[in-house]
Amino acid sequence: MPDAFPLRNRLKALRAEKNWTQADLAEQVGVTRKTINTVERGVFTPSTLLALKLAHAFETTVEEIFWIDEERST
């Protein structure tokens, strides 16, 4: 069933800016590469803690990385 509030993210773009692989990012935030992969693809929704760790790794805010797809949620 499609999520009424689909969560989108810019993880892939942010990684590309820093030239990080998924494995590099995974090691920084203490998860597996697969977890980063599933978060990027929108398959897995990260917890608040993981979202904050990701924001910290990219030296930005959670809102800069994740957002709700407003068009699909209305």
Binding site: E27, V31, T32, K34, T35
Partner: protein, 147 residues
């Protein structure tokens, strides 16, 4: 901890679990068949099944020991241990246990219904239940963890 080695340990752990589940199932199936088909298996096939079960039991033991060794290798590195027990993995583990729970629940309901028309053997049900309790959560977890 090298990023790649977390992946390597993860794959190794999944391989061990898959081998563990398959070997356990092959080990238990002859016993389940024996319980369910009580005395209806010809002696010749019974012997083959016993040999197969014994061999599978040994293979299962090897995988069980290998899995423990992999778990110890993971535990030696706290960063790897934390990564390989991250929130997504814990979520998948919970779902796997839930599927196992509902599978056993379904087995009990089915047994209850069957017992109304058939003389159901307690040892057969318990043997099937044991097999499902081990195999279903592992297989579910591996399916959730597949790339």
């Amino acid at each position: 901890m090298e990023p790649r080695s977390v992946d390597v340990l993860d794959r190794s752990r999944r391989r061990m679990l898959l081998g563990f589940a398959i070997a356990f199932m092959v080990w238990q199936v002859p016993t389940v068949l024996d319980e369910v088909l009580t005395g209806r298996i010809p002696n010749q096939y019974g012997t083959y099944l016993t040999i197969l079960a014994a061999a599978a039991g040994v293979v299962w033991l090897v995988f069980a020991i290998s899995y423990l060794r992999t778990a110890r290798a993971i535990a030696r590195d706290p960063n790897a241990a934390a990564a390989l027990d991250d929130e997504r993995l814990r979520d998948n583990r919970s779902r796997s246990y839930a599927v196992g729970f509902w599978t056993l629940g379904g087995l009990l309901i089915m047994t209850r219904l069957l017992s109304m028309v058939w003389d159901v053997s307690v040892s057969a049900v318990s043997q099937v239940g044991l097999m499902l309790a081990v195999v279903v959560p592992i297989v579910t977890f591996l399916l959730l963890e597949r790339e």
